[in-house]
Amino acid sequence: MHELSIAMGIVKIAEDETAKANINTVTKIELEIGTLSGVEIDSLNFVWDSAVKNTVLEKAVKQIFIIKGKGKCADCDTEFNMEKIYDCCPNCGSNFKGILQGKELRVKALEVI
């Protein structure tokens, strides 16, 4: 259940950034989470309420932008969609690839009052 650590990491970023900007209330938080990042969104949702309790995020709406996995074959340069981290190149079957996107785990923005 490392999603709890992730949620607490999000809370910490929000607390730090709002403290710097002298703000007490966040109305919305935007997150970017890649499908290859290793975070289960369901688990994150499950721990969210307890993680944000008594923090600036307590009343914030959480919006998650899911970023789909994409890779580029190191052997034939084909770009392809990845559902799993071990998907091989659909063109040549190679397992050597670079991951172009899908590993994101980011706090994108906070909407504050």
């Binding site: 490392h2 910490k12 970023i13 721990v47 071990y86 397992n95 923005a109 909407e111």
Partner: protein, 286 residues
Amino acid sequence: MCGTCGCGSDSNGPTIIKPGEEKHTHQEHRHHHDGHSHDHDHHHDGHSHSHDEHHHHNGHSHSHSHSHDPKHKILEIEQDILQNNEVLAARNRGFFEAKNVFALNLVSSPGSGKTSILERTLADLKNEIPFYVIEGDQQTLNDANRIDALSIPVIQINTGKGCHLESDMVFDAVKQLEMKNDSILMIENVGNLVCPSMFDLGENKRVVIISTTEGEDKPIKYPDMFHTSDICIINKIDLIPYLNIDIQKLKDYALQVNPNLQFFEVSATTGEGMENWYKWLRENIS
């Protein structure tokens, strides 16, 4: 609430203990994250002045339809959630590099033989190479005591309810180890094939251990750990005659996840295959 252990109070958080010093256990209870909160304050300072100029809703109404209320404003953060862990991992890495310490992060399911491989390695090489060990478990000093019995300096991190080590715990543990230059640091992570994969500890190499009793498709069942590892040790090869496992198939699955993995096939019990592993360790500190 503590983000590492998920407990409601600090009293269940991670503790760092040396064998023989159990009595100090309860003094260490604190949120280990608090001490480092200053570390990345500088990160966004350089950008903060421009946030207002980049108001999303000025030109991009798609995602902020309700944000025209002049009281609301958007703080563009764009910060990696694991950044705090990664900043501290980088600090660990710099420290290891300066001291020429070769640091390994040993990960596996519970029971695949991490501690047994460690014990055997330490017993066979301790007169040749200085070793240090950090043991991660949810509870007990049992593993640290096994290492301590070999007269190797060891620190136990008990993560409480936590399912993985994080770089700040390793940072705190390393401070107590007083390591000599040109040595090897073995960090035995919590037995868990899922969560530790996301947390860089600052190690030079990550070593995933799988045993022959676990089934050949484990690498694709738990791909993240195999994807982030450099070395794969296949343990308990002495049991192969009694098992229905195809080692080549296991390797093929692992290579599908990570084509750069390097394998060692060993038995920590009989010592078979350990010499190749030792050879690799020696090459990496010379």
